[in-house]
Structure formats: C-alpha cells, structure tokens
Subunit: 115 residues, 2 copies
Amino acid sequence: MNDDCLFCRIAQRRLPAEIVAEDDDVLAFKDVNPQAPTHLLVIPKSHIARLSDLTPETARVVGQTVLMANRLAQQSGIAEPGYRLVMNCGPQAGQSVWHLHLHLLGGRPMKWPPG
Amino acid sequence: MNDDCLFCRIAQRRLPAEIVAEDDDVLAFKDVNPQAPTHLLVIPKSHIARLSDLTPETARVVGQTVLMANRLAQQSGIAEPGYRLVMNCGPQAGQSVWHLHLHLLGGRPMKWPPG
C-alpha cells in the first residue's frame, strides 16, 4: 500500500468510491468519469504503479482482474453484446493514476481505433 | 488448435504474418491494419475464442501476453512515453477474429475515450 496513491486509499476505504465487487486480491468500482454506459475499473489491491512494473511473479494479478471484469460484464448484461478492456501505461497512453487499473467498457458499440 | 481459426493458422505457420516474438505459450505479430506507429497483436498459442471463455485455470495466459507486450514496448522504444493495451470481447467491442488477442498500441498520443 502507498499512502499517496488514490487507488490504494480507495482499497483501504479511506476515500469514497462506488465499489461493485471485491475479493482478496482485486477490487472493482465505477469510473468517476464514465465513457460508456458501463465503465468500471478493476485494480489489484497491492500497489503496482505501472503495467510495465509487472514481473513474472506479479503478472498473475492481470488474469485475476480480467476474470473479475468478465464476471462484472456478465452481471451487467454486456457479456454477450460485447465489451472492451483497456490498460494504459505511461503519459502518451493517458495513464493518470499511478496504480495499475483495467478499464471495462460496454453498453454501446465501441469504435476503432481505440483512441 | 482450431483449423478454421486465422490466428491458430498463423501460430502454426500455415498463414503468413510478420511475427516479432514468440515463446512456448504466446506469439506476437504485426497488425495488418495498424492504428498507431506501433500496433502489435499478442496471442496465446492455444485456442481460446473469447476473453469471456477464460477460466481460473487458463487466465494465467493473460499475464503472459501482457509480459510479452511489455517486452515489445521496451524494444520498440514506446515503454517510457507510453502504450495502450486493448482486448475486445464480442461484436459490440469490434472483436473480428475469434481467438483471444491483445492489441499493443503506441508511438503516438492515444485519445480518450478508447473508441
């Protein structure tokens, strides 16, 4: 945990968020600036600042965030029509919070290119 | 392997592709319709049709594709400026090949929303 990190503070319940799901390792909550009818963030509870900081030892958490996103897509009714998962790494990608997070977007047709 | 699957055929070298990296489990090649200066696809070699088909037993491969994408971002010189990873599931997300694949995009500022 990193006391200066917005998402660590959400995971610790020290900042409010609309949390929609949680297990021992990952947490999901609504994006405060949604870009689609369903727009959730899924994060590892442990502090990993950037996607590029993942190691063979920690990369397992990516699969866990994707499995959580899949469950939430199912619950939201967007699994069959479809959904997009996005991870940004670094400033040119638009990463704005330095804690690894997976965007789950759906509920509308998604365009191409993806930004 | 699925004989009718485009990406299985690429993995088997039965269809041409500009392959840029490979290990025992995953394969990376250039997208034939690139949407950014760097636009690569990273796929598991095993046939998984949809993201939503992942199970706790097979989800590990997502971490492997992300680690491969991280290495390729480093090699392409886009790791520091930044890169975006995208996975589409289903028609509304624009999934067009029914074999799980991770898009790695970078080399230009990426816009928001992501499509």
